[in-house]
């Protein structure tokens, strides 16, 4: 159900509350998506003319799961605070005193419901951490992470249901990695169609059993970061070492990611440098170049009255990866009607050269 439909059907007095939830509601670590609302129903008699819906299901992402909580208002008494049914978590019973926005419910404040949901999520988190106590191993993991200031406060734990047949206990840790993405050039992040939201990298580690013998880590990046880093295939995180623990593994992953980011940033600068050097060397021959990402450069060169185009494609991980040179004839066509071109990859190249050096050395292959 799209937010607009939900807002249309809900009782007018409750509309502001729901508005802030569906439009601005981001709860928890994974805030790429807003909270979703489904199953709008009414508590009034069926003869009441609409819109009069006052109860709905709220989908909240948490620790890799989606919590489906029922929120129950009364359209006839919109000033009253809502009631909740916590879906399958029948044992989750937060202490009302820990929910200030419930105790001092203010129906006139549009943010009240959203704040209340956030407080509930917090309580839910505590509840799940309590459940970790059933496994000492996982509890240890949790406690050790908690002590680390980098990770301790950006953690969501989901202690799964015990498998009733085998008595297994499982848990999932969702950690927000403290990687600085701010230096990533803006152009890299611009390509995503939707509002990318906050740039975040989340590491999800699933423990399928209490003894941590089956551990499945997964890295989630917000779309723009993923794009900036070269797509989902570019990032491979190491497997969780058996017998290892999170407090060692997580920094490892963090470091890896940080390195990657650094590399990307560096690459950007290097490319810029490269292009700048080429520009200075082949200034008159430059047809066009990518002035934002510095990924492409096209030169029109003449050698002994033979004009040709050179397209230089700079890869993402330049200077580690060698740029691709594509020579293109301006005179001849191939059978398929394209300009004749020849790709040249193997030419003397070394990543250690700086831009000037590369430009100079590039003249040779051009000849």
């Amino acid at each position: 159900m799209s937010p607009e439909v939900a807002l249309h059907r809900i009782s007018p007095e409750l509309r502001p509350l729901l508005c802030s939830v569906v439009r601005n509601g981001r709860v928890g670590l994974d805030s790429t998506n807003c909270l979703r609302v489904t199953d709008l129903k009414t508590g009034c008699t069926s003869l009441t003319p609409g819109p009069c819906c006052d109860r709905f299901k709220l989908h909240i992402p948490y620790a890799g799961e989606t919590l489906k909580w029922d929120i129950i208002f009364n359209a006839r008494y919109p000033e009253l605070p809502p009631d909740f049914i916590f879906g399958e978590d029948a044992e989750f019973l937060p202490e009302p005193s820990e929910l200030p926005h419930l105790v001092q419910w203010d129906a006139g404040n549009p943010e009240c419901l959203l704040q209340l949901v956030k407080e509930l999520i917090q309580q839910y988190h505590h509840y799940q951490c309590q459940r970790l106590r059933e496994s000492s191993r996982l509890l240890f993991e949790y406690d050790s992470l908690l002590e680390d200031p980098d990770y301790g406060h950006n953690m969501e734990i989901y202690a799964g249901r015990k498998n009733s047949w085998t008595g297994e206990f499982s848990a999932r840790f969702l950690l927000k990695l403290p990687v600085d993405f701010s230096n990533i050039p803006v152009y890299l992040l611009k390509d995503t169609a939707l509002d990318p939201g906050e740039d975040v990298a989340l590491l999800s580690v699933s423990f399928e059993d209490a003894e941590a013998t089956q551990v499945f880590p997964k890295l989630y990046l917000s779309p723009s970061i993923e794009h900036a880093l070269g797509g989902s295939s570019a990032l491979h995180i190491p497997a969780f070492p058996s017998g290892g623990c999170l407090i060692d593994y997580v920094p490892q992953v963090c470091q890896l990611l940080t390195n990657k980011v650094q590399y990307v940033i560096q690459g950007y600068h290097k490319r810029r440098e490269y292009i700048a050097a080429f520009l200075s060397h082949f200034g008159m021959g430059v047809v066009e170049y990518d002035a934002e990402g510095f990924t492409k450069l096209t030169l029109l060169l003449m050698w002994k009255d033979f004009c040709f185009l050179v397209h230089v494609d700079l890869p993402l991980y330049f200077p580690r990866d060698q740029p691709t040179l594509t020579f293109q004839s301006v005179y001849h066509f191939t059978n398929s009607g394209q300009l004749y071109s020849q790709v040249q990859k193997s030419y003397p190249y070394s990543p250690r050269w700086d831009g000037n050096e590369m430009a100079k050395r590039a003249k040779n292959p051009f000849k």
């Binding site: 129903k41 009414t42 508590g43 009034c44 008699t45 069926s46 009441t48 109860r55 029922d70 129950i72 009364n74 359209a75 006839r76 008494y77 009253l80 605070p81 009631d83 909740f84 049914i85 916590f86 029948a90 019973l93 937060p94 009302p96 005193s97 929910l99 419930l102 105790v103 001092q104 419910w105």
Partner: protein, 464 residues
Amino acid sequence: MAASISGYTFSSVCYHSANSNSDHEGFLLGEVRQEETVSISDTQISTAELLQVVEIHNHDPCAQLFSFYDYAGKVSEENLNSILKDRRKNVIGWYRFRRNTQQQMSFREQIIHKQLTQLLGVPDLVFLLFSFISTANSSTHALEYVLFRPNRRYNQRITLTIPNLGNTSQQEYKVSSVPNTSLNYAKVIKEHGAEFFDKDGVMKDIRTIFQVYSALQDKVQAVCAEVEQSERVKEKIQEDVNKLKQQIALRKRKTEEEERKLCEAQNADSHSTPEENTEPSEASLLSRITFHTPSAPERSRIMFHTPSAPERPSTSPNPPSYADLLTQDDSLPSSSSSPPTSAALLPRPQAVGSPGHPTPGPLGMGLGLGLSLGLSASSNPVTTPSTPYLGNGDGSSSDSLDRQAAGQEDDDDDDDDDEDEDSSEYENLVSEATHLPMVTASVLAQGRPAALSPDGDARGSQTT
């Protein structure tokens, strides 16, 4: 654990709920009792099953939401008391109605339930959840109800039975044990209950029927006793009769012999006057078989001696009925009105054993005679004709007549007891007749009737 709710309470809750335009809640009043079932079978030692039964008698709807708790779900005892007042001790649970929601206790409901359990002091407080589901096009509406006992860890849902809600075409209409606690009902029953119930709370009809039964039993027993008595008397009299017969025969033989001798002698001389033999015998007979009925103060205790033996005729060819002989005048005591049997004295509902049986004719021997005399004498109030003696003259009894007569006499007696029209006379007769059974032997022994004419006049003054 089982739970039941009466149909009218359930429908009342549904009515309140369906008519509210929002969620609705209230309290359930009733009682919890323990039922122990002991089952014994051949294969195992007796096992006792303990079943807790929750009965919901009534409900107390709350006028609005949040009436006894605040936003945080904290229950206010003051408000609770002002809502429940003196019904607080009857609370066994509470209920909530919400439309289009899951059948699961919500966050606030759980918090409230915990507090209510503590405040009301009911360890197994139940929670009845109604949810009303409507389809999108409002074509189908379903009212679902679940009874929870959230204070238990397992088996939190209990089935709620509503007696007589279901397919009653194949079952009988059940009377449930849920009592009706309506005040108006109790008032009406109290007012009009006295017409149906006596002071012990037992229905009067039952008691009356039981009384009839007892009366009949007693009568039967009395009749048995009387039958026995009269059989004995009959035996005795039969013996006497036989003896007398023998004597008569002997005398006859003697007289014949004497006559023969006389004849022979007279034949030599002349004829002598013949005697009448039978009469003296008769007289003596009669003189013996009169009864002397002393006055008896208790007429109520008379064993009514039914002359099971018929009136015993003498062996004379014209046997005077004893009734004839003894049928008499007023001085003759006879029980006109028969006192009631010595069995349990019972009130006399007219409906039971209506009188109107014809009085039997003069029946029975000495003992029965008086009574029968009385009967025949008192037949007037009953306006039944006195049946003439129908014995077959040889001392045998016609059973049917006797029995019928016996019964009739009983009824007559009973009836006559009440209908003492010829009161004084009959009372005398009755009172004197009470000792009839006892004085059998003495009567026979005494041989002097009080006022019995030893001749055939008695026959003349038979039944009135």
